[in-house]
């Protein structure tokens, strides 16, 4: 297999990863790591570098549209980025001391958790009374829906902030966006309405991933030969996904995709335990 062939297959794989990631809301990074390690036997450290790049590409690409629509809560995102970037830096430091097979096992566990989170029922109701801190930090806001502008208030800011720190650590350690944990923090703890929490989470992924990507770039995890098909493929896939999302019902697609990544996750965990990385 020469580089031309490798590049073309990787381009196709990254395109499908970006497409699936944007249709299901899981992001491009989660599919890139198993694709590279299990599919191409690429060392997991190169895969992590590529996944970080893919996460930044999908986040920035789709956030540009959501932010303009006014759904994203920019203040909330900025405030919680203190937690996620701190976590990401800790994760990037921990990565030096974590054996690669442990990284693979953690990644598998995270993948299963992400799949479960995607299928979980979400609450869309907005709180009318927020906690003291939510007012002090100006985190309460409003967002446009079909029925007009909806106001919402937040609670349990401390709880959300703590989960965000963990999301950041995992993002820095595994090279993924940790979108599922970010949504958990906002949706379950702080009671941010679902549409706002998904778009704000996506908005934050870019900054979180950038915080650890600057370290990984200097460590030599990001290889140009892998990075360029991944960036182009994931971006094109995410773009197609965003267009398709308006037209098709993704319910079944989500179930199939979640079943598929659960199998991949088990594979990653098994290989991790067998020290195959």
């Amino acid at each position: 297999m020469n580089i031309l062939f490798f590049t073309l297959i990787l381009l196709l794989g990254a395109y499908l990863a970006g497409l699936a990631g944007s249709l299901t809301g899981l992001g491009g990074g989660v599919v890139i790591i198993p694709l590279l390690t299990l599919g191409f036997h690429v060392d997991i450290r190169y895969a992590i570098g590529a996944a970080l790049v893919a996460s930044i590409a999908t986040s920035s690409g789709s956030a540009s549209a959501y932010v303009k629509e006014g759904i994203t809560n920019v203040r909330l995102g900025m405030f919680l980025e203190i937690a996620t970037t701190t976590g990401a830096v800790i994760g990037a430091i921990l990565a030096i001391y974590t054996p690669v097979n442990i990284v693979a096992i953690l990644f598998g566990v995270m993948l299963i958790f992400s799949a479960a989170m995607t299928l979980r029922k979400k609450h869309e109701t907005a709180l009318t009374e927020g906690s003291k801190l939510s007012y002090a930090l100006k985190l309460n806001s409003s967002y446009p829906t079909r029925e007009g502008i909806v106001d919402y208030k937040l609670k349990n800011i401390g709880g959300g902030f703590s989960i965000m720190t963990i999301a950041g650590v995992l993002s820095g350690l595994l090279g993924i966006g940790s979108g599922a944990l970010k949504v958990l923090a906002m949706d379950s703890a702080m009671r941010v309405p679902f549409r706002v929490s998904t778009t704000t989470s996506n908005f934050m992924v870019g900054v979180t991933a950038a915080a650890s990507a600057v370290v990984y770039l200097q460590r030599g995890y990001i290889d140009p030969g892998i990075a360029f098909p991944v960036i182009i493929g994931v971006l094109a896939g995410a773009f197609t996904g965003a267009k398709l999302l308006m037209k098709i019902n993704v319910k079944w697609l989500k179930i199939i995709f979640c079943a598929a990544i659960t199998l991949i996750a088990i594979n990653m965990i098994y290989n991790g335990i067998q020290h195959k990385f």
């Binding site: 297999m1 203190i82 900054v207 990001i222 360029f228």
Partner: protein
């Protein structure tokens, strides 16, 4: 001369959207140019990714990348695209900072500065090891 427009959240959102969009488009374009050139130069070689060697200095520091660009090396053009991509969300923070300053939101100027310092620490803090 009282026509100085008050900066609103809406303006900030539009600006952030633009920064993200152009950052991604430019980095994608640079990566495509470097990538096609790379395939011309190395397309028939064999990939070596099963073992991790770490990348040479040319790909891991801005100086190295700029030097490679001067020599017309395709891999460094791709890395420039990667650097632009990583810089995009960081630039987004810088623009948010300016916007919060114009909006006179002291609390969020402080919060944004904290986030920016963490990223700068990550960049220059010698975490590379």
């Amino acid at each position: 001369m009282e026509k100085i427009k008050k900066v609103t959240d809406r303006d900030i959102q539009q600006l952030i959207g633009q920064v993200l969009r152009y950052g991604v488009l430019i980095s994608g374009a640079v990566a495509i140019i470097g990538g096609i050139w790379y395939l011309f130069q190395h397309g028939s070689a064999i990939p070596h990714y099963t073992t991790f060697n770490g990348e040479p200095a040319g790909y891991t520091s801005l100086n190295g990348i700029l030097k490679g660009l001067g020599q017309g090396s395709a891999t460094e053009i791709i890395q420039l695209g990667v650097v632009i991509l990583i810089a995009t969300p960081i630039l987004r923070i810088v623009f948010s900072l300016l916007a919060f300053i114009l909006e006179k939101d002291k609390l969020y100027v402080l919060i944004t500065l904290i986030v920016l310092s963490i990223i700068l620490f990550s960049m220059f803090g010698g975490l590379k090891i």
